[in-house]
Each structure stands twice: as structure tokens, then as C-alpha cells.
Amino acid sequence: MDRVPILKIGDVLLVSIQVDLEDKTAIQLQEDVADRIVASGAHGVIIDITGLDIVDSFVGRMLSSIAAISRVLGADTVVVGMRPAVAITLVELGLSLEGIQTALNVERGMRILAEARQGPRLHRDERGSTAEAAAPR
């Protein structure tokens, strides 16, 4: 069985799915991501599906569960790189990818995760310093 590699970049885990996913591989991936979040203390997960030429209801459910599991473990998930034909098919299939944040590519996904990380920090700092909010992106 193929196993999907998980890379760590800063406090973000990058999961790049490059194989035609067998159901077993997808289930294994959920466990691997959960383990890596706990082991690394990552605050974000990016799942790159550029390599997937279809997303059916099983893979869609797998993506939703990874996002839900990550959230429980304190990490945000962004799915990036969906092909146009896959997006069109998903909508027609009726799959809403509930609870999943999406972005066009890895770079934008990283930005979403960075912003999510800054949000709560700004909230805690209520003595007036908004320097972080004004910082250029």
C-alpha cells in the first residue's frame, strides 16, 4: 500500500497527495496526520490535491474528517490545488466539503493559516498595539 508523505514546514504540515488514492491509503492518512500534529505541535495542515484527478464522496469524506480531527487537535486545515474539472464534478455530485477551507495554491493556503494564527494573538493584546494587523503581507 502506498503511503502519503507528510512534510513539516515551520509549524505547518504539508500533505501532498500524488497517487491515485486507495481507500486504505486514505484511512491511513487520517491517522498519520493526527499522529504528526500531536508529535510536532503543528498549528496548520495544508492538503495539496493537485495530483488528484478525481475526488469522489469517499475522498471528500476523508478530507472533511482530516479537517475535523485536526481542529480537535488545535490545527487548521486548508485544502489547496483542486483542479477545475474536479471542482465542477464535486458540485454536481452534491459534495459540499463541509468544514473545509480551500485555497487556490499552497502559497495562499500558507497565508490563510498565518492569518488564522495572528487572529487570536491580536485579540489577546488589547493594550492598543495593532502593529501586527498593519504589517504588510
Binding site: D56, F58, T89
Partner: protein, 147 residues
């Protein structure tokens, strides 16, 4: 025998591309996707239509495995004289579907999935035919035509 059929009818001519695959294990779902993709490319379906058909086939192959206890698929490039398309026929000798109306509706599942398999697959293809008989088995035939 209960049958659900949509826009079926016109007789079609089978072309030489015709393959049968057994669906007996998890990895066979991947093989079905690859075979259907090959046929869709041969029939010159657009990329979006290829993606829709392969996704539908993936849902149906998983149904054959999960609910039918395994079975087989016949994938062929067909020609009705006006256009070329791909037809995939999934057959199992499982328990059959007692309540087709419910099985076709989104969100209904007895297998712990999302319940999008049958209804979702129907939306992704041009023709959809379902024959099922309780305790004898189920046959689902889908066709997608090149535009």
C-alpha cells in the same frame, strides 16, 4: 425486477474497446477508475466529462464492493451512429436494493457513507439504468456521450 431508467432506449453499436474487470477488493476501485479513464479518453470525452464519468464509476464500484459483496464491471466504448460514448455496467449478486427511492436519495445510506453514491452518480452521467432484485443482485448501467 425493478428498473429505473433515464433517457435510455436507442440501440447502440458496440465498438471493439470492451473490457471486463472483477471488483473484489479495495484496490479494484482504483483499477476501475483507470479503465474508465482509458475508455473516456478513447471516446474523446472532454476533460470535465471524463472526470464526471470516472467519479461516477468510482462511486458505483465502491457500491458494488460494499453493498453487493463484490462483482464485476464491463466498460466499453459505444457508438449510436450519431455520437461516441462510454458505457459501464456494474453487476453484483448481492442482496439487491429493497427501497430504490430511498437508495437514490441524497443522504440515505446503510453503509456509513455520505449517501451520495447512487444519486450523485446519476447526476454525473447522461444515462443511468438500475435493475435490482432483492436477494438476487443489482445491475447499474451508466453512459456518458462525447459532446
Amino acid at each position: 425486477m425493478t428498473t429505473v431508467s433515464e433517457r435510455g432506449g436507442a440501440p447502440v453499436e458496440r465498438t471493439e474497446l470492451r473490457e471486463i474487470l472483477l471488483i473484489a477488493a479495495d484496490e479494484d476501485v482504483v483499477h476501475v477508475r483507470q479503465l474508465v479513464r482509458k475508455a473516456a479518453v478513447a471516446a474523446k470525452l472532454s476533460l470535465v466529462d471524463q472526470t464526471k464519468l470516472v467519479t461516477a464509476a468510482s462511486e458505483l464500484a465502491r457500491n458494488t464492493l460494499a453493498y453487493g459483496g463484490g462483482g464485476q464491471v464491463t466498460v466499453e466504448v459505444v457508438d449510436d451512429g450519431r455520437r461516441v460514448g462510454v458505457r459501464a455496467e456494474f453487476v453484483d449478486e448481492g442482496p439487491g436494493i429493497p427501497d430504490i427511492g430511498r437508495a437514490m436519495s441524497d443522504g440515505y445510506t446503510t453503509g456509513g457513507g455520505l449517501g451520495l453514491g447512487l444519486g450523485g452518480a446519476r447526476r454525473l452521467v447522461d444515462e443511468f439504468e438500475l435493475d435490482t432484485k432483492v436477494s438476487l443482485g443489482t445491475r447499474v448501467t451508466v453512459t456518458k456521450w462525447a459532446r
